[in-house]
């Protein structure tokens, strides 16, 4: 067995002078990594059990604990990194597919980090958002090519054109689809309450609707995926929009699989399947093998909801993303979501998460470009997701062509997540990716919501500052405004795909 002995990824160091033997770390760790030795009267850690979530470190009242990376888990080689060696050991031991969680962290080039923003100097005035009006509200949904107006007897001008249903976003940031089951109810309540306070939307994900969330319908998007879990007419009508999930950035092209042991009483109720049965989401929707079929499901949902709600479609960013997106728009989607290679997940095979898909920066640029070329950009809004880390990423995504962004990982980090990437174990110490009542109660939805509201408000301020600096007073004037972007250290073909000029080149 010694062959399969995997070296610890983390070392939990304890300053014995500071440790007061309160044993909080022993009680709190859901992985059982910390233990108290009665004889030695000391607290120790089984380093091998530590996942690096930093919960004990954060909770230690005397700051006696430091969780650090084991510097020499295995000989530090460049090509054969310890990650690769450990993965091989695990697979040689079990014969299984490697599971992981959260977003891709391979060192692919981050194009967001190679794009810089513009500001006004001399020739056009910048705007101070603290004293001048600045519009960051936006609407998602189908827009009309032209508006027909008519006058009534009293000479008032009335709108004759019927406007398609829209989602009203006070900030161009929404919370990504995260299902009940992948995250806890308290995490969902935090997202829901924050969305309501700020005036944006959260997304139920594909796991159905817990009854506690029904009252957040006006700030909720409900998702329909291939497993159709929890989907009935009431569900479709429960939110402000319906989103058909074709794929997600973390696992393009594959289905989902919630193991039976995770289908508890509460999960069974929202997914509408018996307790203990596996919840399998087939890789494709078997009623969708073409754009025409997608149109069929979009309109089945529109019929069932009497054309009162926008219907969106979410796909993972893959090589052919631009033509697919154009097809989705022509199929009748009111908004489309493109999820890039860094999109997060509750559980995915590592090989898929780390190697399938394309960076979101390219995806949004080519999708926006294609829709404009085809003259159909107004027919659907474009929402971008997958690794949006801060307000700068939001601005760059919008300037590359998005109407709004979805954030998932960033929202969870605001709730306490330290990206240990072990959501699939269901033992999240921070009470986010778990259903264990002892753990979920660690996440207070009121505090969670407050932290999320803080995050969105902070980003809103920053977005306004940047817009003001550019001399722009509305977020909608930034959409697809690639003149505001310049590339640093990018090849010509990359710049061409992104539709931006290199830094230093004037208008």
């Amino acid at each position: 067995m010694a062959k399969g002995k995997i070296p610890p990824e983390f070392l939990v160091e304890r300053d014995d002078y500071k440790c007061v033997r309160c044993l909080a770390c022993v009680r709190l760790c859901s992985y059982g990594a910390n233990y108290y030795d009665e004889n030695a009267k000391r607290v120790y850690t089984e380093n091998r059990k530590c996942v690096g979530c930093h919960f004990c470190e954060a909770m230690c009242p005397t700051e006696a604990i430091t969780v650090m990376r084991n510097p020499f888990e295995i000989k530090p080689l460049a090509h054969w990194t310890s990650e690769h060696l450990i993965d091989i050991m695990k697979q040689a031991e079990t014969g299984g597919v490697l599971l992981t969680s959260m977003g891709n962290d391979r060192p692919y080039f981050s194009y967001f980090d190679r794009i810089v923003l513009n500001a006004s100097q001399v020739t056009n005035p910048s705007i101070d958002p603290l004293r001048e009006p600045m519009e960051v509200r936006t609407y998602l949904g189908r827009k009309q090519m032209k508006l027909d107006l008519e006058e009534d007897e009293e000479g008032r001008v009335l709108l004759k054109t019927e406007i398609a249903p829209q989602l009203k976003l006070e900030v161009p940031v929404m919370f990504s689809a995260m299902s009940y089951g992948s995250i806890s109810l308290n995490a969902m309540l935090s997202l829901a309450e924050a969305a309501k306070t700020v005036g944006t939307y959260f997304n139920t994900g594909e796991g159905g609707l817990p009854k506690e969330l029904k009252r957040y319908g006006s700030n909720m998007i409900v998702q329909v995926a291939s497993g159709r879990f929890g989907v009935n007419v009431d569900y479709l009508n429960a939110g402000s929009a319906v989103e058909i999930k074709i794929g997600q950035g973390a696992k393009p092209g594959i289905g989902g699989h919630l193991p039976g042991e995770k289908v508890t009483e509460a999960i069974s109720e929202t997914r509408m399947i018996p307790v203990g049965t596996d919840a399998l989401s087939p890789a494709p929707h078997h009623d969708i093998y073409s754009i025409e079929d997608l149109r069929q499901l979009i309109y089945a949902i529109k019929e069932a909801t009497r054309y009162e709600k926008p219907v969106g479609v979410k796909i993972a960013a893959v090589h052919n993303v631009a033509p697919i997106a154009a097809g989705m728009v022509r199929a009748g989607a009111d908004y489309i979501v493109i999820d890039g290679i860094r999109g997060g997940t509750g559980a995915a095979p590592k090989v898929t998460r780390d190697h399938v898909g394309i960076p979101i920066e390219f995806a949004v640029a080519v999708v926006d470009q294609r829709l404009r070329e085809e003259g159909i950009r107004h027919m659907a809004s474009v929402v971008v997701a997958g690794g949006i880390r801060n307000s700068a990423d939001v601005i760059k995504a919008i300037a590359l062509g998005a109407d709004a962004v979805y954030i998932g990982t960033a929202a969870l980090v605001a709730l306490g997540c330290h990206l240990c990437q072990r959501c699939y174990l269901g033992k999240c110490n921070w009470g986010i990716a778990t259903q264990d009542p002892k753990l979920t109660k660690r996440l207070n939805p009121e505090i969670g919501a407050r932290r999320l509201v803080n995050l969105l408000r902070a980003w809103e301020h920053e977005i306004k500052e940047i817009l003001g600096g550019m001399g722009i007073n509305a977020i909608e004037s930034l959409r697809g405004n690639r003149d505001m972007l310049r590339g640093v250290g990018l090849h010509e073909y990359e710049l061409k795909l992104l539709g931006i000029k290199p830094a230093g080149e004037a208008w």
């Binding site: 695990k90 697979q91 031991e93 079990t94 014969g95 299984g96 597919v97 490697l98 599971l99 291939s226 497993g227 159709r228 989907v231 009935n232 007419v233 479709l236 699989h257 193991p259 039976g260 069974s268 509408m272 399947i273 018996p274 203990g276 049965t277 596996d278 399998l280 087939p282 078997h286 009623d287 069929q296 499901l297 309109y299 089945a300 949902i301 019929e303 069932a304 909801t305 009497r306 095979p349 699939y424 174990l425």
Partner: protein
């Protein structure tokens, strides 16, 4: 009772008219000259009887919750897609993905049906979906099936004398499929096995066979005289050992 002539109508016009009639409290709606209009009955929640003369289009009764639809003609794909409750009776044949992700209610097809019949059907508490097909079905019957009952009577065989196609019950992890007549082992997906139905099993099935015979005028004794086989998964966790943690 209200009569509608759908000749030359777009589905939106037809469905709007049906919704209006249902909203006004009509209990029986007869539609003549149905020709390919999609989504008939989609999302309807009230107990209402809809009789269709002609061939309705795809997604008949999608997301439906309660109504009874009777079709005097053939149907296309996606009948009863994600249906919650209600009943669909087809005096003809049906297309692919019949009863996709259906959670409750019953679908009776007099003739044969296409590929992936009953895919991802699932039961939940009092919801128990049932599909009865009088003739044969194509490949991938009961794929990903998680609950409910599928009954294939094989009163009509395909061009090669088959009752089912290949890959029966692939990915199946719940529910039961009964087939009247033999099913070759080689046609099964790797998650299912053939069982001989017990008396209890047959008692579960006979009411639906009876209903089928009453609906379409078959002799119940005759239909029951041939042997049935029961196909069900032998594990609820087909993919339990797939992953390394």
């Amino acid at each position: 009772m209200v009569g509608i002539d759908a000749k030359g109508w777009h589905y939106r016009e037809l469905n709007e008219t049906i919704w209006k009639a249902v909203g006004e409290g009509e209990n029986e709606i007869i539609v003549e000259n149905v020709c390919g209009q999609r989504y008939i009955g989609a999302g309807l929640k009230r107990k209402v009887k809809i009789l269709l003369n002609g061939v309705p289009g795809n997604d008949l009764g999608a997301f439906m919750d309660g109504p009874e639809i009777v079709v005097y003609g053939n149907c296309q794909d996606g009948v009863g897609n994600t249906m919650n409750s209600g009943k669909i009776v087809i005096h003809g044949c049906a297309g692919d993905i019949l009863g996709y992700s259906m959670r409750g209610g019953q679908i009776y097809v007099k003739g044969h049906a296409g590929y992936r019949v009953g895919i991802h059907m699932k039961a939940y508490k009092e919801r128990y979906p049932v599909i009865v097909v009088g003739g044969f079905v194509r490949d991938f019957l009961g794929e990903y099936m998680a609950g409910g009952l599928i009954l294939i009577l094989g009163l009509e065989r395909d061009e090669d004398g088959n009752v089912t196609g290949d890959f029966v019950g692939t990915g199946m992890h719940g529910g039961e499929i009964f087939v009247r007549g033999p099913v070759e082992e080689r046609k099964l997906g790797k998650e299912v096995k053939i069982f001989e139905p017990t008396i209890d099993d047959m008692n579960r099935v006979t009411p639906y066979v009876k209903e089928f015979c009453d609906l379409f005028g078959y002799n119940f004794e005759e239909v029951m005289s041939e042997k049935f086989v029961l196909l069900k998964p032998y594990t609820h966790r087909p993919y339990g050992r797939l992953y390394a943690y």
